[in-house]
Subunit: 210 residues, 2 copies
Amino acid sequence: MTIPRALTIAGSDSGGGAGIQADLKTFAAFGVFGMTALTALTAQNTTGVYGVVEIAPAFVAQQIDVVVTDIGVDAVKTGMLANAAIIEIVAAKVKEHSLQPLVLDPVMIAKSGAPLLKPEAVDALKTHLLPLATVLTPNLHEASALTGRDVTDLEQMRDAARALHDWGAQNVVIKGGHLAGAAVDVLFDGEDFTEFRSERLPNPATHGTG
Amino acid sequence: MTIPRALTIAGSDSGGGAGIQADLKTFAAFGVFGMTALTALTAQNTTGVYGVVEIAPAFVAQQIDVVVTDIGVDAVKTGMLANAAIIEIVAAKVKEHSLQPLVLDPVMIAKSGAPLLKPEAVDALKTHLLPLATVLTPNLHEASALTGRDVTDLEQMRDAARALHDWGAQNVVIKGGHLAGAAVDVLFDGEDFTEFRSERLPNPATHGTG
C-alpha cells in the first residue's frame, strides 16, 4: 500500500486549531503522511494572535526542497504566507518542482481578526500563486479582497468565483461560513456551479484562521 | 466528553517524521488535542538536517503562555530544545504554570547524526529541566551524554536509569533501540525496574530524531 504524501506550506498556530497543526491533524485523519514548510510562527489562542515571527524566504524554500527531493510530494496545500517575498519564492518552487495538485487557501486574517498577510501582498498572491492553483478556497472576506468587490451573497459569490477562475485558478470554492443565514459553499470548476449547504453547528469554541 | 489537551515544546521536522509533526500525529492517533510551542525549525529529510533556525526564547515563552492561559494543558512533552537559553525559559514556564505531567525527551542528535542540542546545553538540561520530569526518555546515546558513562548494555542501562532518577526524574525510560541484539527499553520508577522487549521490525526508511 502506498501512503499519500502531502506538504503544507503555512504558518504555525500554537493553539493547534489552524495552520500546519490543523493541516497535519486533517492529513492524519485521512491516512495521509504530512510534511511541512513553515512560513511564519504565531503565538495564538482562541482569543487572538499575540505574536508573529516571519521565516526567511530562503529557509521556506529549503524546507520545500529537502522534502520534495527526498520523500516526495503527492499534493500541496498553502495557508498563511505572510508576505510577498514568501509568496514569490513559494510560487517559484511550485513551478520548479511541478508541485500539483495545489490547494491554495488565501489566508489573510485570523478568526480573531489579526492580519496574517500583509495587505500589499494580495497582489503578489493574485499574480504569482493564483494561476498555479488547482483549487482556490477563499472565504467571503478573502474573495472580496482578491476581487475588489463586495462578496456577501450567493450571486456575488458566483460572480467572484467566475472572476477568480478567469484569473487562473482551475477550481474555486468560495466558503460561505460567514454568510447571513445558511452556510453555503460555492464551487466553480470553469463550467458549472455547485453549491454545498450544511447545517449550522452549535457554537463551539472555535479558533484559528478562517 | 472531555478531550485531553497536550502541549509539545519542540522543534519542527519538515520531513514530518519527528519533532512537533510526529507528536501531533501521535496525539491525534490517541484522540488528544495537540498544541505546540516551537523552539527551532529544521529543514530535514530522511538523509539529514540541512538547516536549523533557532527561535528566540521569549517567543518560545509566549507560545507557552498563550496556550496555557486560554486553552489549558493537561500534559506536556518536550523534544528538541536547541540551546541553554531555551531550556532555562522552558523550565521557568513549567514551574510558573505547574505544567505536569512532563515527559522530557532529551533530544540531542537527529537519527542522521546532526546535532539538535548544543553540547554546552546538556548541563542546563540536567540542572533545570530533569528535576521537573515525570518521565525522562533518553536513548542510549542521550543516557550516556547525561550521565557521562558508557551505556551500551542492560546493566549499564539500569545503572544510568538509577542515576538519572537520583538526579530528580521521577521515572526514567532508557530506550534500547540502538542496543546490539533485541530492542529492550528499561523503566526505573524509583523502586522497580521493568523491561520492555520488542521484536525488530523489518528495516523501514525511518528518519527524524531518536
